[in-house]
Subunit: 383 residues, 2 copies
């Protein structure tokens, strides 16, 4: 396979974008990525979107967006893996370039979630879980993650305050990201006093409902005369776990992230100790805690201490979610995995103003669907 | 890129499968393909599904089905391109093997469409068109294809009877396919006297709403000691057109099929004259007429004569839809592209009992989304 790099990135301000259609949101991000890369065309596009049907009443986004970009008849492919749709779309784009099938590919993600009411959004998100065996009985995602949190707290002594520290850290980082949905400092007290959603998770433990898109341009290495410093895709891996929580041997362990990360480290030839930073899937505070364990950043059961100790803060041993993460940056589900790649690229280029990880050399992105039924891990480094 | 072959196929009887869940339907097809190939595992799976959200209330099918197969933690990827979802999923699976990333991959398609009422099914299907610029004004797919038919009839003299002949031919073929949804002979008179849907299209011009799945196994060539004769993927190509009909220069011409087919012929090193048979996207009778023109089987505007003259019948110059096509076999939208590949493989193995194209050497599959906003073309030959 050919070596592949990201040569351009684009993203708009995320939030409740009432005044913009999904195609407008996506096209802004895509055109920015194309301009950033300095290319005049792409050979194909991929788009991660979780539920075009339920959120927007629009499937067939690959074709629609190729048309919208004015670049038809290029192939347009939509990839879906719930909240890991963006990461998995990036992976298919990577394979398309690595294989030699295409030379320049746009990988993107999109979700417009606020055009339906809250109940409909909760239903749409619940289609990432096992509808027949989980949701039919009334549970939704906060409840599923709350059960994971309960087990983690019971078994490992993870505390309510430790969970809150994840949200506090990610909001602090989001303050430094002009594109983040929430740009507000919060305290541990704010989190633990916020509205209860599913005990022990409160509303400030949860990532929000968001409209947004992100896009990146992939190309084969070596890139001669490229406008931006190429950032190499050093590893790409995906894995799955049981879709239903009740089928797992251990609901406090993210097997899909563990398996995908192990493959990715082997492919890149590095260990977790080599990482300069990570962008991970903190859909709930407990998710970040469990993800960093599965990535090997801390020992099993030790993830709760990480945010509280400052290890994962900017300036800590391995900053996690310098972008603000899903918690603060927002979580337009299909776009999240691509925005993680954008942050990794900016960090490795040294362009993450205000939140730059000094001397960043290796960055990892981890994007996850459902309660971890799917995970996608990528590792990046300077080309 | 490595050469890739299909080494196993599976499909269940299609129809209104009230007694089976979507996961059961899919798993039957997947296990049959695995058994047919004689493999004991797959490295990854792809599934084409158009609207898991609107038809089944279930997204995240890649992970769910890997789990259902008992083969987690393998990566599971859902691909969507409306009614071309199956064909595009096959293409991503092909790239995954051709690139060297995976050695044995399951490509599949699934749609369970009958668990919602007719209005909801029509709405779900309409998300393949441009919701904001087409469907908002009240049009659905029969209306869109009816407009294409009107132009074709006006400009080229295509007749009502010629359209009917497509349905008659495909029903005759479906009678020979034990897995087809409709196994009934129809006449031209039956078609032209059937209920009007969108003038000039009548109900017997339209493919049905169907539950069904199909699966195939891809592997790198050469395959040593494989159970079945491998069938080589000689070409894979995808292309797009404007999603809205009103944006096209010519609504009686399928640009996406034309572009994808031209690439595929070049890749395979053949011309349309070399084809032994084709499986094409006859979602409406006019679609088959226009597709065979775009594939170069007939001159522009000459597609209407093809079925009427017997050219595309079994025993004709180039049989089209020996399986019965979407019209008779059924059209569970995400599964259609994979069922086309299955038919091509059976034909090239010489195993299409009762409907075998004698001496079949080259077979083409063409799968299409919307009114042709996306098309995927594959060419197969004996390895």
């Amino acid at each position: 396979m050919r070596d592949v790099a990201v040569i351009g990135v684009g993203m708009n301000r995320w939030g409740e974008l009432w005044e913009k259609s999904h195609r407008r949101i996506w096209t802004e991000a895509a055109l920015e990525a194309i301009a950033d890369a300095g290319v005049d065309h792409v050979d194909a596009l991929y788009v991660g979107c979780m539920s075009g049907g339920l959120f927007m009443g629009q499937e067939h986004l690959g074709a629609l967006l190729a048309d919208q970009l004015g670049m038809g008849p290029i192939p347009g492919t939509r990839v879906e893996s719930a909240c890991a749709s963006g990461g998995l779309a990036f992976r298919q784009a990577y394979l398309a370039v690595a294989s030699g099938e295409h030379d320049i590919v746009l990988a993107s993600g999109l979700e417009k979630m606020t055009d339906v009411d809250g109940g409909a959004a909760t239903y749409a998100l619940s289609t990432a879980a096992d509808q027949e065996y989980e949701c039919y009985h009334g549970i939704t995602f906060p409840g599923l993650y709350a059960m994971m949190a309960r087990v983690h707290m019971h078994r490992y002594g993870t505390t309510r305050e430790q969970l809150a520290r994840v949200a506090v850290k990610n909001h602090a980082n989001g303050l430094l990201n002009p594109l983040a949905q929430f740009q507000s400092r919060i305290t541990v007290e704010d989190v633990v006093r916020s509205v209860l959603v599913a005990d022990p998770l409160r509303v400030l433990d949860c990532s929000p409902i968001t409209d947004g898109a992100a896009a990146v341009i992939l190309a084969a290495l070596p890139q001669k005369g490229s406008k931006r410093e190429p950032v190499k895709v050093a590893a790409s891996a995906a894995a799955t776990d049981t879709i239903a929580l009740h089928d797992r041997e251990d609901i406090a362990w993210l097997r899909s992230t563990d398996v995908a990360a192990a493959k990715a480290y082997a492919q890149a030839g590095i260990t977790p100790e080599d990482l300069s930073f990570c962008e991970v899937h903190d859909c709930f505070t407990i998710a970040e805690v469990m993800v960093i364990e599965a990535l090997g950043l801390t020992g099993r059961g030790k993830g709760g201490e990480a945010a509280a100790s400052g290890m994962t803060a900017l300036g800590g041993r391995v900053p996690v979610n310098p972008s603000g993460g899903l918690k603060s940056k927002g979580h337009p589900v299909g776009a999240t995995g691509i925005a993680q790649v954008r942050e990794a690229v900016l960090q490795l280029r040294g362009e993450s103003e205000g939140r730059q990880v000094e001397g960043a050399r290796w960055g990892l992105t981890q994007n996850m669907g459902g309660t971890g039924a799917s995970s996608v891990v990528h590792i990046f480094t300077r080309a």
